[in-house]
């Protein structure tokens, strides 16, 4: 697990902002793939081609580096809330399925954070971020009885799809595209979010 991720440059441009940004980027990848506890700062530094002590000079501690890295992730995750509310589920799905996310190793920010959930305080932040973005956003779409529960069930599905793809590496789902998944996704969204929650699908 000390393998090389990305482009371990042998040398570095002597530029504070560049190096800092490179460390942050490397940290996002490492934390996303190996979790907080599974990542050591030396490997982050090696990814950038720099001495490990620079991490402490620039970020103060491994934990502060993680905080800064995941704050960027959270911001990226929160951006999905902008836009027409009725298309939110689709945007969330797109985000979960999206592969082009080099800044966090192709993993959704929440899935990345999940890997670090053995730390209690990190788990608290994960809870807050999921509630504040996913669930709160989806909750505005649901009405009727059990609206909270249904919003959470739908969020759970999105979370589960992310886990299945990037952790479990479910055979078909891991390679599935948006157009393959969308039809089923919309029907489930109708059931869990649309309507008043009492109508039966075939009623």
């Amino acid at each position: 697990m000390t393998a090389s991720f990305g482009s371990r440059q042998p040398h570095h441009r002597r530029d504070r902002e560049t190096t800092r940004a490179a460390l942050l980027a490397a940290a996002r990848v490492r934390f996303a793939r190996e979790g907080y506890g599974g990542t050591n700062v030396r490997s982050i530094a090696q990814d950038v081609g720099v001495d490990a002590s620079l991490v402490f000079r620039y970020f103060g501690s491994k934990r502060k580096l993680f905080d800064e890295a995941s704050a960027e992730d959270a911001q990226a995750a929160g951006a999905v809330l902008a836009g027409p509310a009725e298309q939110l589920p689709t945007r969330l799905l797109e985000m979960i399925l999206h592969e082009e996310r080099p800044e966090s190793a192709g993993e959704h920010p929440f899935i990345a954070m999940l890997r670090s959930a053995d730390d209690e305080t990190i788990r608290d932040r994960l809870h807050d971020q999921v509630c504040d973005t996913y669930i709160a956003g989806l909750r505005t779409l649901a009405s009727g009885p059990d609206a909270d529960l249904r919003a959470e069930l739908f969020s759970a599905w999105l979370l589960g799809i992310g886990v299945a793809r990037s952790v479990v590496r479910s055979d078909v789902l891991a390679e599935a595209t948006l157009s393959q998944v969308a039809p089923y996704f919309e029907r489930v969204a109708d059931i869990l979010l649309g309507g008043d929650g009492t109508e039966t699908p075939n009623g």
Copy 2:
């Protein structure tokens, strides 16, 4: 995370098999709650009231202990496949929601294993176990186009519910009972598993 789980009593029986079983049980609880990396063998031994070196004497290494412990978990998870096939989804949901699981700290075996998924080989085993039990079982219920994908999407939902409850600690879902969730669960099961997958819900 040096907190005491369970009894941690001085262990006075000199019965090798009894001690071995107790270590295995303690290991399942610890690994489930704290993940592989977050668990140290000394705390497992303390839970049983014996010295840590016995773990190595009986199991060879922390890793082999984990392997044996998670093999038991996988077996427990696989037991859900026994029984009428058409009630499998409900049994799976019951299992995800079930709290009474003292042998793995109340957590579903797969969710517990997720906590350890920063190790690549552990991730491989998680993949195999999820595919061989959940997905394979659900796959027999689905027919028509995209049956594989639909079975995986449904598995993903179960996984996601487990994650939402025990990791994210989703506000409502974490406390929800089977009777609250069942209605929505069945409708989604109909869509993802039932039919040929081409019919539209309101068609």
Copy 3:
């Protein structure tokens, strides 16, 4: 400053209490000579012929080791209070001059602690210990105006003698014996402690 103090055994008897006591003894010597900050736990362990991690197993941290070591010192220092009150000054002087103190490298406990006084909390403890033993003990002997000040001035002298001997290594004083110092000592004691503080020595 990583030089060998004492008898760096190459091997050790496999006995917890013996090793623990040896570490504590080595720690007292190192802390006394090099101060808290100037001592590293590896050299303490090397003095005993043992791996440095044992220090943490037995004492928890470098700081707790220091606390335990200096608690023994404080106890030794406090023992001087037992006995006839009017002979206290002489006993204090004997203690300051005493060379036979292998358990703290021949240094008086307070002088040893002085070496560590760059740490604020250690300085607080030094203050308390000096006040509670030396000053409080001497204060009972002084009466009249400025009794507190005079007791502290006399304590300061004892402290200064210790510093002069073991830190500054004052040429003559460092080698002086009790019988050489005693005459002057008693006269100063008379002035600072005896009488009501107003009489003049030749009055």
Copy 4:
């Protein structure tokens, strides 16, 4: 101990000598308060508002900076020798009690140096400086038997008063003024320095 001492303002003058002097002044304060080992060159540089690398450019190493800073201290301490010999004890006491010494954080140079006495070579220099100034000066005042010893005992007292005030922070003595201490001081000076050392106080 990263607290700010003094001004810590951005330093804009490009005058080499000015910066050098400012670093030296800041170093004296830091070394006096925190000792050699407890001071880091970065904080000295920050006090002046320049980069730490200037310290190495100007002084070569932390140790050479310390040497130069303490040479200034020694010179300041030696200045007390100038003046009427018979008033030397009083001048020494004034110096020990004097608070207005911004160039070394209000601490007497020797007391400051004591803080760094865990380094063997620094201890040697402390020995030389104390002997060459205090003891040599006081020695000229003492005559009769044990003159050397008595001069050293008196020096030890001065040292001890300094330690009691600034390290131990003795309750009353730490706040005492010259006029409070002077009466007792003179009587002790008479005994330790005056006379031939053989007369008894009440004789």
